[in-house]
């Protein structure tokens, strides 16, 4: 296991920025985010307005036809992304923060703290994320904040494992040992010495976890446990209209396409970061 001093943070970012995959991934992420957040301003109708018969491909003024309740698919597509995007992003950030905190603490304090934290994580991992989520949604109702928190918590264990592994090698570095020996408080060591040296694996995790968050949120919507009608939401749109795939494919395929583009963007970005920093092994 090579333990050379990692390059500086600025060096990483430059390398990532120069990577083709990372660029493409980021571009896709930004594109979908732009559609999600600017869409509502250009949508011709409100997301809940009835403009024609259900599943009418030729409805007047409806670019992509109407959906199961005769609403404009195009307007709903434009309105239906921002919740998914911000919830996925917030859930991912929460998962990363929580996971990083647990991972770093476990690696730094070792011993009993490590043992307990890791068992806690195992406990969570032994419980399927999707069932975990639907248990909480059933308990408290499908609020957006709750969904975000639940999905975030679901992501934390995997992040914690990765971050612990990364931090273990960082903690062994001379500069950390030195900081310890001069009595620097542990929170400062963790924040100023350990955390900055885990940036690149964090970025990779961000890409991967973002993808998982989207998949989980969309899956919950699909099962009817996610964002509730009459809200416009890409995952929900797929669920509401999938019966009519044969007669009104746009109502299903457009949201799927956008979810997939977003997800693929995150994936390619993670792949690009991995390549840029040469993290093929440990």
């Amino acid at each position: 296991m090579s333990e050379s001093t990692p390059p500086s943070r600025a060096g990483y970012i430059a390398r990532i920025a120069a990577n083709r995959s990372a660029q493409v991934g980021m571009a896709l992420i930004l594109l979908v985010t732009a559609i999600a957040f600017l869409g509502p301003y250009v949508a011709p109708y409100t997301p809940s307005e009835f403009i024609g018969r259900p599943y009418n491909m030729a409805a007047e003024g409806a670019l992509l036809g109407t959906d199961n309740l005769g609403r404009d698919v195009w307007s709903r597509v434009l309105h239906g992304g921002h919740d998914l995007v911000w919830m996925a992003a917030a859930a991912t950030l929460l998962g990363l923060t929580l996971g990083t905190a647990i991972g770093l603490a476990a690696a730094y304090y070792k011993g009993l703290t490590d043992l307990l934290l890791m068992r806690l994580i195992e406990l969570k991992l032994a419980f399927p994320s999707i069932v975990f989520a639907l248990l909480f949604v059933t308990m408290f109702g499908p609020g957006k904040l709750l969904l975000t928190v639940v999905v975030g918590i679901s992501q934390a264990p995997s992040v914690a494992r990765v971050m612990r592994g990364v931090a273990l090698s960082v903690v062994r570095q001379d500069y950390v040992q030195w900081a310890r020996s001069v009595g620097m408080p542990s929170w400062r060591i963790l924040l100023s010495e350990v955390l900055p040296n885990t940036t690149s694996p964090l970025l990779v995790e961000f890409g991967l976890r973002m993808m998982w968050s989207i998949s989980l949120l969309a899956g919950l919507s699909f099962l009817g446990y996610g964002i509730q009608p009459p809200a416009a939401d890409w995952g929900l749109m797929v669920n509401e209209n999938r019966n009519a795939l044969a007669i009104q494919p746009y109502a299903v395929l457009t949201p799927i396409l956008l979810i997939a583009l977003f997800s693929i963007g995150c994936n390619i970005f993670a792949e690009g970061v991995t390549r840029a920093i040469g993290r093929t092994g440990n």
Binding site: S48, E49, F50, R53, P54, Y55, N68, L69, G70, T138, G141, G224, Q228, P229, P230, N241, R242, N243, A244, A246, I247
Partner: protein, 510 residues
């Protein structure tokens, strides 16, 4: 079980083509039974049910799988014909005394159960007592609450005397209800014996049940040898299974697919003009809906054509705030159709001081249209400047507060008087509106006591007029129940009450 050995289907090569040169290929060869076309003697039926499935016709949650199962395993005293008229089945005759407080029921002679026992008066008495057993609540109990369980008497082996707690005129009609199927004495739901046209071969709750034809059935025996009823919860999956020939009939059809099925020569759409209403209820005993002006305003906000058009994709009819899609044989109740009138609604709301009303409407995916109609009403309410928010819950959460939601959506599927008994008078378990109208209650008493049909019809029209004027429900429409069956299936006709799935005896396959 050897039923799969008779199957034919696409050849093995076709299947292997899709997955050539893989380990799965070898595995598939070993299990060389194929799942496509089935033997014509076996009818494969898909319904939506749950793990709570049972073979008990009385202690059931009333999910579709249960109803289809027990309707084919057991008989009632009567049944509904496709047009909604009541026909005798186990009963040969019903004879009231002068004031309809005692009824004598004669059973058809020579009926035997699957186990070969004769079906007699004692069996009927045991069944009625089982339905009324206070220790084990059943769905049928409230329908025959007027029967005195202790007063049942076997006059002879074929005849039972029913002594009633109060006069009940439409006595015979009640027994056609699906929750009043008759079982033998000493009935054991784990090894269910019955008189119906099919008998149990195997049963796995939530998964599948297999029934064989009962050759000793007292009417024309079933046309198919075997029925396999599978649980498929997802309507799309069920239609896919039908399309590919995995099943012959599906109870559940997504409304949105109905038009496609109608156009597809390989499938038939069964469009039942059902007595299925999806009322939006308003509690008449708490604010804000205790004010009749507010109820009237919400009723005027509803655009019923739009609701039927969208929530039911047009597969249904508009309602006029009174229960009963029709009240055959009484004809139409002469009340003008209520239509959307936003101006009047606004005025009424202003008068009631509720111009900025903001309420939540409780709903759950109980039947197609329940969630959609709440969303549509919410959107329509914007025009009147008030806010209605749809609160869509899972079933258990909805049930946890059932009867207490001040504003919500429900569904009812029955003929007029039973619907009234359950939902429009005090004590009815579905009386979500908490409506308690003295005049209406008195009329209902008179209607059930009367054995004169013309008089009863006159009373029913008065009741419906009151419902329309001051009831707590927005009866915006009646939904058609849609099934789909394969093109090779015969004998499936639309039913007004119940469904062809409850009478698989007459269904065949070519």
């Amino acid at each position: 079980m050897t039923m799969d050995s008779t199957k034919t289907g696409p050849n093995r090569r076709q299947i292997l083509a899709g997955i050539s040169a893989t380990a799965l290929g070898a595995a598939l060869m070993s299990g060389a039974t194929l799942a496509f076309a089935q033997s014509t003697g076996t009818l494969r039926v898909a319904c939506n049910g749950s793990a709570s499935d049972s073979l008990d016709p009385h202690r059931t949650q009333g999910q579709v799988t249960d109803i289809v199962r027990f309707s084919n395993l057991f008989d009632g005293l009567c049944e509904y014909a496709p047009d909604g008229t009541v026909q005798n089945v186990l009963a040969e005759s019903f004879t009231p005394n002068a004031d309809a407080t005692e009824w004598t029921v004669r059973l058809v002679p020579g009926v035997t159960t699957h186990a070969g026992r004769p079906y007699e008066a004692e069996d009927l008495i045991a069944s009625v007592r089982r339905i009324l057993d206070p220790e084990h609540p059943t769905r049928g109990a409230s329908l025959i609450a007027f029967v005195d369980a202790e007063g049942l008497e076997a006059v002879d082996a074929q005849t039972v005397l029913f002594r009633l707690k109060r006069a009940y005129g439409p006595f015979r009609d009640v027994w056609a209800n699906r929750y009043l199927r008759m079982v033998p004495r000493d009935f054991d739901p784990s090894a269910p014996d019955g008189t119906g046209p099919f008998k149990v071969v195997s049963f796995t709750p939530g998964r599948e049940s297999v029934f064989d034809r009962f050759d000793g059935y007292f009417r024309e025996p079933a046309l198919v040898e075997r029925v396999v009823i599978s649980n498929i919860a997802d309507a799309t999956a069920a239609i896919n299974a039908l399309r590919s020939g995995q099943i012959d009939m599906t109870y559940l059809v997504p409304i949105s697919e109905a038009a496609i099925i109608e156009a597809d020569p390989s499938m038939q759409l069964v469009n039942n003009p059902s007595m299925l209403s999806i009322p939006i209820y308003m509690r008449t005993d708490v604010a804000p809906f205790d004010d009749p002006r507010v109820r009237e305003a919400i009723r005027l906000i509803a655009n019923r054509e739009q609701m039927v058009e969208i929530a039911l994709s047009g597969y249904g009819v508009v309602g006029n705030d009174m229960q009963g899609r029709n009240v055959t044989p009484c004809g139409d109740t002469p009340v003008p159709q209520r239509t959307q009138d936003i101006e009047r609604a606004r005025a009424l709301l202003a008068e009631a001081g509720q111009s900025d009303l903001d309420v939540e409407i409780a709903t759950t995916a109980g039947t197609p249209g329940m969630v959609e109609c709440a969303q549509i009403l919410a959107e329509q309410a914007r025009a009147a400047g008030i806010s209605i928010r749809a609160n869509v819950m899972d079933e258990a959460t909805y049930l946890a507060n059932y009867g207490n939601w001040s504003f919500g959506v429900d569904f009812l599927s029955d003929t007029y008087l039973p619907v009234v008994a359950r939902s429009l008078v005090p004590g009815g378990t579905f009386n979500n509106t908490h409506w308690n109208d003295a005049e209406f209650n008195a009329l209902f008493e008179r209607a059930t006591a009367s054995s004169d049909e013309a008089e009863r019809c006159e009373i029913i029209h008065q009741m419906r007029t009151i419902e329309h004027e001051r009831g707590g429900n927005i009866v915006w429409g009646f939904a058609n129940t849609l099934h789909a069956v394969g093109a090779n299936v015969q004998g499936v006709v639309p039913y007004v009450v119940n469904s062809a799935f409850n009478n698989l005896r007459v269904v065949s396959k070519s």
